[in-house]
């Protein structure tokens, strides 16, 4: 399991970097899918099987499909690739890289000395446990999220409606 974790984590890192630096939008999105899949594997190795499955079903299987769908419809050609390539020049990378470094450092200093890092995969999280947690202590959050989603649904319907 350890080995799987490290392989999956490496792929996730690699794929995520490729998402940023790839100039072809569809290829970049495919790397993003790959990244999500490897993160799902990471979840799996940590014992969160349910989260892993949901990650694949919801993110890779539904949300990213819509992303790719839209990008496919946009019919972006070689012109966009050139534009991407110009935008991805080294000087343009400096600031975001610096910002990311700061974030990483902040995360590290916050987590490391306080000993939040614990051994993973100690316990398998079953769907039942997830369900009980969601509809127990986190019920309010679930309800809020569902209201938000409903609002999103109504708004999307309104925007997508043809006015004729």
């Amino acid at each position: 399991m350890d080995l799987t974790f490290y392989i999956a984590a490496t792929i996730a890192l690699f794929a995520t970097i490729m998402v940023v630096i790839n100039t072809n939008p569809v290829h970049a999105l495919l790397y993003l899918v790959l990244s999500l899949l490897s993160v799902a594997t990471v979840f799996f190795t940590l014992g969160a099987h349910f989260a892993a499955a949901l990650e694949v079903i919801v993110y890779a299987g539904a949300i990213m499909v819509l992303f790719v769908f839209v990008v496919m419809m946009l019919n972006l050609g070689a012109k966009t690739e050139d534009q991407e390539r110009r935008w991805l020049s080294a000087p343009a990378m400096v600031l975001p890289a610096a910002l990311s470094a700061v974030l990483l450092w902040q995360l590290g200093t916050q987590l490391w000395p306080r000993g939040y890092i614990t051994a993973a995969g100690l316990q398998e999280v079953t769907p039942k446990m997830v369900g009980i947690a969601l509809y127990g202590p986190y019920l309010l959050a679930v309800e809020l999220a569902s209201m938000l989603l409903l609002a999103g649904l109504v708004a999307a319907y309104h925007l997508g409606r043809h006015d004729d």
Binding site: V26, L30, H49, A53, V56, A60, A62, V65, M72
Partner: protein, 341 residues
Amino acid sequence: MFSWITPDLIAIVWGMVKAIIILLGMVLTAAYMIWLERRLLALWQDRYGPNRVGPLGLGQVIADMIKIFFKEDWMPPFADKFTFVLAPFLAMSLMMLAFVFIPMTPNWGVSNTNMALLFFLAIAGLAVYAVMLGGWASNSKYSLLGGLRSTAQTISYEVFMGLALMGVVIQAGSFNLRDIVAAQDGLWNVFPQILGFIAWVPAALAVVHRTPFDLPEAESELVQGYHTEYSGMKFGMFMVSEYVGIVMVSGLTVTLFFGGWDAPLWFDRIPGIGAFLGEQIPFVWFAAKTFIFMAGYILVRAALPRPRYDQIMSAAWLWCLPIALINLLITGAVVLWRAGA
């Protein structure tokens, strides 16, 4: 000298051997599914079908395979090379991967995981990429339209496919397919879960793009839809993946709704042969039931016309989704009521 042979190792090797046997069996079944489809369609359509190569035309599959292997592996110059190659591989491997979770007998089956059904849904969700990428990478308008149709169709049908199956999960109290089969001992799920089954059938057809849900490749409209530009082995993989899909989905239907390896009716109570089959080779029942569904897929193709794309979509949202939700509601209520009582 053989001290490195531990029981663990033997178990692992035996598991691998089993997996390989199942893989080969499934691919062969899928390949012969092509023959079966052509013969059955011919039977229902007043003609012969392939009957020249080998006895009953059984060699036709081999001949076709040889042909398709040796065909020029042509790639359209305007295609997006990487994705174009990736798509058929995805199609084939995902459909085969989904087979991993299906238990064929109490002891046979590649994987026995508690998340089996969820993983199946995950794989069904990923399978759409094959069609989508195939459609996009071909860089042809017909392919693109096929890819778009497929995406919209699959996403819509996935929504209630998951919901339709949740009734089964609630009843068995587990995502594990073996538990689900075990829970059907006595009464198959198709009876209590009839609404779930009604919603599942179109969704299953939609997953493998079979008539009347073959809109992504509707040949009278989109030529060949997403695989218009494919030929040779890459096309072959798309085609075989469809048949692997049929085998897989038929197997899953049997597992979820028709008691898996459980003998139908009172067959296992027949002295001698019934008991022998039930205890020694229950695979027979699984195979027989799966075969009926596979033939059912072919019959549907022979019998039904193809609705329009928007009619398919509205059927999904206006009929199947409410049915699946009602089923979920009723199942949940009954389970809670029983638990309370």
